[in-house]
Amino acid sequence: MSVKDADQFLVEQFQSGDRGAFDALVQRHYRRIYDYAYYFTHDVEEAYDITQEVFLRAFKALNGFKGDSSFYTWLYKIATNACIDHRRRRRVYRRVALYEDLNVEAGLDRMPDRERLPDEQVLDLEIDEQIKQAVRQLPEKQRQVFILRHFEGLSLQEIADILNRELGTVKAHLFHATRKMRRLLAPYLEEVAVGGHEEG
């Protein structure tokens, strides 16, 4: 049974009253949804809360799910909306707690324990941090497409379905985002600058 068929089977089970089927659906997908939320927020607690919110919304709406798209596409749609809602709420919050938030963004509240990590891991951490910062700088629509493509590994068509956009628009967003990321991460893409850490 394919992933899609298995999901569809579980959805039907749930719709016929088997609540245990929902447990199985959560187990199968919560990691992916968490990852997606994490790439959106770069915050563990926020990603966790968003993931809970996504499955809560899914639980409420699952009886109305007709299977026009695959379950995980449907779930990503919910996740995208939840992330956007979260960002809106966070914007309001940022106005209130700007000083505290700036400290978080600057990494002052959570410095990596460099003494315990080898050089390569330190560099990876640094690049990770730079990627997070760069992703944050992408415009909203480009960021959605970029995350779904590069971190979630979805196809361009799947992304178009999830975001309800034309395939051409999705491509344009992705290519713009990729070029912008290349510029933002330029110092880490030069072979010399990387200093022998390059594997490829």
Binding site: Q52, F175, T178
Partner: protein, 227 residues
């Protein structure tokens, strides 16, 4: 490599890495790769970017939080989608009584209103048209009027009957059982002149034949025939 060519090449790199270049673009792109070291280096930078992205790590909450994911989720589900609580027996009893009283009251008032209306009409002695049918193309029309005064009913019949030919016993004003002419049966309407004879009736507007049986009862019957 010229600046314009370099810009065009760079613009096409993401599409190249996604494998969505057109054939023509792909050929041009390959040609540039063969010709230009700068193009190859730029492509390599993008490949590095992709590798970094692949290696980008996700931080997860501590294992306890992950284990409690489902229980916490169901907690929230229970909070946000409460199941309807069963109603107390007093509330159910109240519902039943109020429903019964409401339905009983409604039915009672309807029956009462109907009886009151019937009594009022009977007491006033107004004629009640109990049956009527419109005459169409030579159909027989039977109209029964109860009550002392048949005038309202006759007025209604007047409008329906236009081509009547007598088939039953006819009445004239002098015949027994004929109780005078009503205003609606007067000479102003040739179709319904009670004084007209059968010879005087000419289509299309023939007179209405009226017959009041001598029942001796208070309620008379008006019968109109149309062949």
């Amino acid at each position: 490599m010229g600046k314009r060519v370099g810009r065009r090449f760079e613009r096409l790199i993401p599409a190249y890495l996604e494998g969505v270049l057109t054939e023509r673009q792909w050929r041009w792109f390959q040609r540039q790769l063969r010709r230009s070291e700068a193009c190859r280096q730029e492509l390599e930078r993008y490949r590095r970017l992709y590798r970094h992205l692949d290696r980008a790590r996700v931080e997860y909450p501590d294992p306890q939080a992950l284990e409690s994911f489902l229980p916490r989720l169901y907690e929230r589900i229970a909070q946000e989608t409460p199941e309807p609580k069963p109603r107390s027996w007093t509330a159910r009893l109240w519902d039943r009584w109020t429903a019964q009283v409401a339905v009983g009251g409604l039915v009672g008032s309807l029956v009462g209103s109907a009886v009151a209306l019937l009594l009022a009409l009977t007491a006033s002695g107004l004629g009640i048209l109990s049956e009527s049918r419109m005459a169409e193309g030579g159909e027989t029309v039977l109209v029964t009027v109860s009550g002392d005064e048949a005038t309202p009913a006759i007025a209604t019949v007047e409008a329906f009957l236009v081509t009547a030919e007598p088939v039953g016993p006819t009445l004239s004003s002098g015949d027994p059982g004929f109780e005078g002419s009503s205003p609606s049966l007067g000479g102003s309407s040739p179709a319904f002149s009670s004084e007209a004879t059968s010879e005087e009736r000419t289509p299309p507007l023939s007179p209405l034949e009226l017959y009041f049986p001598e029942t001796g009862a208070d309620f008379g019957t008006l019968v109109a025939f149309q062949p």
